[in-house]
Amino acid sequence: MDSLNASEQRELQSIMERKQMKEFMTMYSNLVQSCFDSCINDFTSKSLGSREESCVMRCIDKHLKSSERMGNRFQEQNAAMSASGGLPGR
């Protein structure tokens, strides 16, 4: 990537903040949909049963831990790849 000057850095910074917020919202919605899809399969009642509720709580926990772990590995791999000169085209 070409190096950016200070004002370009600031503009990119503010773009990045909006993207980060958007990424958080997408992550949140993915979590809702994924745990709903995995845990809710009974429609004989309109409120969550206690089994469903604890499934949802464990699902959220596990997904957050999984995301964190994959995020760490992803950043390590990226750092290693940059150190070795990036993707082959670089």
């Binding site: 958080f24 992550m27 979590l31 745990c35 899809d37 429609f43 009642s45 509720e53 949802v56 995301s67």
Partner: protein
Amino acid sequence: MSFLFNRPRQPSSAEKIAAAEMEVDMMTDMFARLAKSCNAKCIDKDFRESELNKAESVCLDRCVAKFFDVNVKVSEKMQNDAQSAGRSPAAGGGGLFGM
């Protein structure tokens, strides 16, 4: 999901519009996901009739209610986790930017 939009100081016009826009985007996205999940769980894929039958209609109603409940659970849990970690919810949760 208003906890995502709390701001410490008086927001500018652009910020208020961006926040309102983001809330609408969030609702639209949530509805699209709910519709996808509830259609998959409730609608018979044979399409032998063009009307929703009784079972499908009831299933859809309950499915929407339960999707809302799951949404509330996720929202509560992320706020609790964030509070016990002493940071804003948007800063947590891991993932690519979750630092």
